[in-house]
Structure formats: structure tokens, C-alpha cells
Amino acid sequence: MSNTTELIRLEGIKKSYNSVEVLHGVDLSVNAGEVIALLGENGAGKSTLVKVLAGDIPPTEGVIKVNGAEFSRLDVFQARELGIRMIFQELNDAPALTVAENIFLGQWPTSGGKIAWKELKAKAKEVLDRLEVDIPLDAEAGSLRVGERQLLEIARALIQNAKILVLDEPSAALSNIEVERLFKVMDQLKAQGVGMVYITHRLDEVNRVADRVQVLRDGNSVLNEVAQEVSREELVTAMLGHATAQNVRPVVSKGDTRALVVNNLSDGQVFNDISFDVHQGEVLCLFGKIGSGTSEILESIFGLRPLKSGEISMYGEKFTPKSPQDSTSKKVGYLPADRQRLGSFAIRSVAQNLAVSSWDRMAKFGFVKSADEEKAYGTWQEALSISSRRGPSQEISTLSGGNQQKVLLGRWFEAKVNVLLLVEPTRGVDVGARRDIYEIIRKQAKESNMAVLVATSDYEEVVLLADRALVISRGAISAEFTDDLVQASKLIEASS
């Protein structure tokens, strides 16, 4: 960090949409070789700020200073010229093309109209070496893990001569190992003088990766400090605007009846010989990195993946997973990790999204009343504090991630399931809503005697949510923690 050349400085940036101001004069500066962690709840203005930085949108007021020159706005081409590149959470690659082709996506070097394969591969190798990552150049991008594909995006940015990288929540979909690998790459880039703005929801990452941390709240910059000098509590307080309770373990409680018993479950591929039980009213978390098999276990119990051997029983009766339809009819609910693809009906109303799994119960002679759906939505909107400004007919895709997730949870509460399977229940959900969701899940489990089984790679989630935790490592149970022994340090130790 000897190098302190300032690459860009945004001063007093204001931005209004339809006369509603969403940024109220925010500063942001990026030095060469510096990583700035940008934190804030959803809607705090992070995306708007980085879009101004990348030239996607013009600010309403403010100055952008680059190398002594002042601009009232950047356009996309100027931003590219300056080497500002965004790495989005969603992948923007071509899965059917190879790693090398993807690194040069759309800008393949040519000679005489033909693609210069040798040059392409040599340069691709060079950039991957620069990142110190080892990914086969001829592999199809689609066959790689999410984390590796994200590294490809970074490699592509570097090929295009990136000097400032904006990484928008890249770690959300990554396992701990992959996140660590990403951080190593970022260290590497730092040493080469690239400035980075790193958007994240995970507070524990701040100290590891960032030099400076900046927190936005409601369109204002409320904290801008050297990362090492800020405590986690200060960050949470800055983000939420008030001091919150510490990570207090919930009071453990469960019913006497065993709702779900799983014996020697194997799928012949990912997990092996898994046995556990979940009591009524109990929240059991399966903790493990992505790829460890936690989500696959839940998928198999729900009937989305085939099982090879093992037995499952619910309330003493044998249960053979056949299909999601069969499972839901037997009062098993499933919340997928991928909300867009498997969870929500984007263009349908929040009321229908919530009621969809209860249509069977609501239907009289095949007819479902909208009034019943809206009543169900009203009930859960209040219980889950879902904020939908336009009532039950609002399309679900217009809600924030946290609110969408609450609707999908309400879906299974309304369906009165006995066993609820949750995969990464707070992925892409902001910190404030996370705590709401943990509280709601626990409250519902206790009140309706529901057995809740959670698959997660977020240890903080386990600490805040679980009555009991099983650590899964390479498809097998490696540890079990109950009560106060459910601690982050123990979980991480057992999972690695």
C-alpha cells in the first residue's frame, strides 16, 4: 500500500429518480491498490453509487475527479477508457464456450479474419497466471463452479485493462474455499495497483479483504474508516442506524415427537450414510460449504434428486420421496436457494405467490377465491412484516429480495406444512431482513409444531437460527453441536 495514487474521486454525488432523491451527497474515492468495502442494507444507495461510478447513470449533482480533470458525469465509454469495470453477481459468460474464449468474450484476437487461437490461449494463460489461479483453458465455462466462473469475469476485466474493479456481492454464491480464493486473487490485484470497490453483506469479510470500509444508509455515507479500526458492532450500528442486540443464541426448545427421522441416507454421489432426526418445533441446521452435500440432502428428501439407499420416516410412517408434488401433498415444504429460478413466479401477484401451495386446501369444486388468497396474504404480510406498497396484487418481482423471501416463507406457513426444508434461506437478503427471517422461522416452528431443516453455508445463520447443528463435510456428518455449543468457531473448525 505504498502506492497512494488516487484513481478517481466522486464528490457530493446526488441522484434523484422522479424527484425522489436516493443519494444525498455522497463521496467516494478509490486509490490504486486499495480495496474499499461498501456496505449498506438493500436500498441504501450502493448500486446507484457504483452505477454513477461506472457511467451507467448520470448523477443529478456532484463532481467526478479523474487525474485532475473534473466531470459532471461519466459516460459509459469514458468509464471504460478509465478502466472502470463492474463484476456482477450474476454471471455474464457464455457457458458453452471454453475458458479461454470466455476471457476474450466478444473481443477475440484475430489474424486475417480468423481467430488467432495461439495468441488467445497464450494471453488467457497469462492473465490467469497473473491471478494465480489454475483453471484449464479448454474446459467449458458451464462445467466450472460458480466461483471459478466469477474469476473468469475478473480475468476478462483485466484483459480489458481494468484499473478499478467494482465487485457487486461476488461472495454471495460462493463457498468458503471459493471466497478465500477470490480474496487471494484480490490481494494479487491489489499488489498490482488495481483499485477495488467491494460490495458485500458479510461483515466478517471486511477485515479480511478491505483497507477501508464505507457504509451507506438511506443515501448518506454514515461511516468511512480504515477497516482495521472498526468493530463489527460499529458496522452493524452504522448500517441499521441503531444499536442492535448481539449475536445472542436463541433459547433452545423442541417438542417430544420426532417429526422426521432419516437413516443411512446415501445418493451414491454427493452424500453418504447420513442419519439424523428432527423433532417437532425444532430447527436443525446442516452446516457445510457449498458442495459439501447439505443442499443435496434436502433436495433428495423433497424428491428433487434420486436416492440410492436409506430410509426416511415422518411421524413414524415410512416416507419415500417420489416427486415434489408427492412431498407437498404429504405436508413437506421446500424453499430453494435459487429464488428466481425455482422459487418465485416473477410476474404473478404476491398474493398468488403466497397462496400457490394452498390452492388445494382453498379450492371448492376446483374454484379458488381471490378473496381467500388476499386474506392469506394479509395474515402473513402482518406476521412477517412484508412491505409491499401496492397491496396483494403487486407483482412479486417488484419487491426487494428480503421481502420476496418472506413471501416464499409465508407460502409454506400458509400451507401448514409439518416439515419445512430451507436451503440457504437468507441468500441475497440484507442484514436487517435476515434477523427478521430468523425470528419468524423460529417463532413459526414453535407455534405450529413444525420441524425445520436448514441447509446453509453461512455459520452466522447457524448460530442465530439453529436449536441444533450438524456439520457436513464431504457428504458425511463430521460433528454435532447442541445448545450453547453452536458457535461460529466450532462450526468452522469442524467443517474444514
Partner: protein, 328 residues
């Protein structure tokens, strides 16, 4: 005013906030319809007459019978292109069987054919997993061949069964009544039943529909049966109107059906569409055809107009989607 707004949110009524933001999907259709009617009324003295409207509706009714289940399919994210050939085959069958075995057996044979062919499409799409566009494009091709085979390439005259196509109880042609009943049942099913809601859910996200426990395959299968039976019925009505089964009678039916449905606001990506929209789309197509005929426009041009209409409708769909997404 603020109080009002807050109240409407807590009460959870479908309030005006949504309506004022989005362009109502049927409004432009009604506008186009009115403009077309005005234009043709001026252009042709025969247009604005009760008899002509009865004519337009009677012609549209045959297409309309097919449009209703096809709307279901398109909302669910599928499509049935085999409707025209299925109608032709059923018309040929009807003529043959009525001539030799009588009306009752003829209708029975036609409906049985619809059922079997619907199962065939449904099986390929839901069990084998072939894309519905390809499955029914194949059906369109081979059934046309079957229709030619039945009459050896010739039109087959049919005796004593005109009433299905030409009877006019209360001065309303029977096909219009049949269509109205089917459209009404379709609209109720789509709007108020679990089946209809499931169709919208499947179309808007087939993967999620599976996960929440909707029996998607069963519903798609049933809808393909409805589509084939409706096509068979349409073929029968058409044959009865003409007193003859012609292998070419269903040519281009799929184009008219898809045009009407897409004009009516349904999205080929699935999840959107309504029976009211489809009916309005159907009327637009019907009035266009009729108006062009009255204005003595050569039939070749009618074909061109129909094709362009579909392209226009799809473009309009995209533009409307863009407008709505920028406004909200």
C-alpha cells in the same frame, strides 16, 4: 389522500395505484377495433350491417373455438400448431362417417379422434419431453397428409348434416353460440379455478411450479387434449357449414389462432394472456378479413395482411413490455 393510500394498502384491495401505472392491456385493442370498424364503414357500404356482423362472427366462431384452449396453452408457455390439420382430418372423417354411418357416429368418431390426438401430443410433450412447437409442427405436417389420404386428395361431400354449422336458433348462428359458451367456460376456468391459476403459474415459472407441488404435466396433458378436441369440433362445424369435408379447410388456421391470441396480449414466453384479450384479437382478425373481402382486395393480399398482423402483434407485445417496465 395519504390516509386513503395507507388504508388501501392495509385493506389490501386492488386499488387504482396499479391501474394508473400500467397501460390496460385491452384498451389499445378496443381502440384498434373501433378504428377499423370506422374505416371499413366508410370504405364499404355493406360493412356496417347486422347481416355482415353475423357473417363476421360466424366465420370467427370456428377459429374462436380453437383459440380458447390454445390461449390456455400459450399462457402455460406451450403452443399447438397442429390445430388446422387436426380440424381438416376431423372434417374429412366426419364427412366419410356421416355418409356411411349417420350423424351420431360421425360426431362420436370426430370427438374420439380429438381425444386420441390430444393424448398423442400430450404424451410427446409431457412424457417424452419433446418441445411442443416441434411436436405440433410435426402433427401439422403429418395430419395434413392424413386428411389428403382420407379423401384421396379430393373434397368429400356430406349429406344431411348442415344444422351444426348453419342452424340459427333465435336468429343467432349455432357456431356463434358454441363459441360463446366455450369462451365463457374458458374465461371462468382461467380466472377462478385452481386449474386456471396453475396454468398462469406454470407459464410464469415452470420450475417453480414443480417445486410448489403443481401437477404441471397433468395440466399440460389435459390442455393438449382440450386443444385437439376443440380443433376436431371446429373441423366438424366447418364441414357442416360447407356440407363437405375438404383437406384444405384448415390451412392457415394455426396462423389465425396464434395471431388472435398474441394480439390479445398473451406472451409467447408464457404467464400472460386472457380470454377477453383473445376474443378481441379474434374480432380484429375477423374484421380485417371481412373488410378486405368487402373492399375487393385480392385474396393474396389478405394472406399478406394476416402474416404482417402477427408480426405487428408480437412487436406490439415487446413494445408494451418495455413501456411497462420503464414506468414501474
Amino acid at each position: 389522500m395519504i390516509k386513503n393510500r395507507a388504508k388501501s394498502v392495509t385493506a389490501g384491495t386492488e386499488d387504482g395505484a396499479k391501474k394508473s401505472r400500467k397501460i390496460p392491456e385491452t384498451a389499445p385493442l378496443i381502440a384498434v377495433l373501433v378504428l377499423m370498424m370506422m374505416y371499413f364503414s366508410i370504405a364499404s357500404e355493406y360493412f356496417f350491417q347486422v347481416e355482415n356482423f353475423r357473417n363476421i362472427l360466424a366465420n370467427a366462431a370456428v377459429t374462436g373455438i380453437v383459440c380458447i384452449p390454445s390461449t390456455f396453452l400459450i399462457i402455460a408457455g406451450h403452443i399447438d400448431l397442429s390445430v388446422g390439420s387436426a380440424a381438416a382430418v376431423s372434417g374429412m372423417m366426419l364427412a366419410q362417417v356421416v355418409n356411411s354411418q349417420g350423424v351420431a357416429l360421425g360426431m362420436l368418431a370426430v370427438l374420439a379422434f380429438g381425444l386420441v390426438f390430444g393424448c398423442f401430443n400430450g404424451f410427446l410433450v409431457t412424457v417424452v419431453g419433446v418441445n411442443s412447437l416441434i411436436t405440433t409442427l410435426g402433427g401439422l405436417g403429418f395430419l395434413y397428409g392424413v386428411a389428403l389420404l382420407i379423401g384421396n386428395g379430393q373434397t368429400v361431400g356430406m349429406n344431411d348434416f348442415e344444422w351444426l354449422g348453419t342452424a340459427q336458433p333465435l336468429k343467432i348462428p349455432l357456431p356463434i353460440i358454441i363459441f360463446a359458451v366455450i369462451a365463457l367456460l374458458g374465461a371462468i376456468t382461467l380466472r377462478y379455478t385452481k386449474f386456471g391459476r396453475s396454468i398462469y403459474a406454470i407459464g410464469s415459472n415452470p420450475n417453480a411450479a414443480r417445486v410448489v407441488g403443481i401437477r404441471s404435466n397433468r395440466i399440460i396433458f389435459q390442455t393438449f387434449i382440450l386443444s385437439a378436441v376443440a380443433s376436431a369440433l371446429a373441423g366438424a362445424v366447418l364441414t357442416s357449414q360447407l356440407s363437405a369435408g375438404s383437406p384444405n379447410s384448415g390451412l392457415g388456421l394455426e396462423l389465425q389462432v396464434v395471431t388472435a391470441i398474441v394480439l390479445g396480449g398473451a406472451s409467447l414466453a408464457g404467464g400472460r394472456g386472457s380470454i377477453l384479450g383473445t376474443v378481441l384479437g379474434l374480432l380484429i382478425v375477423g374484421i380485417l378479413n371481412n373488410g378486405l373481402i368487402l373492399m375487393d382486395v385480392p385474396t393474396f393480399w389478405q394472406r399478406i395482411a394476416q402474416g404482417l398482423m402477427l408480426i405487428l402483434a408480437v412487436s406490439f407485445d415487446s413494445i408494451r413490455a418495455k413501456l411497462n417496465s420503464t414506468r414501474s
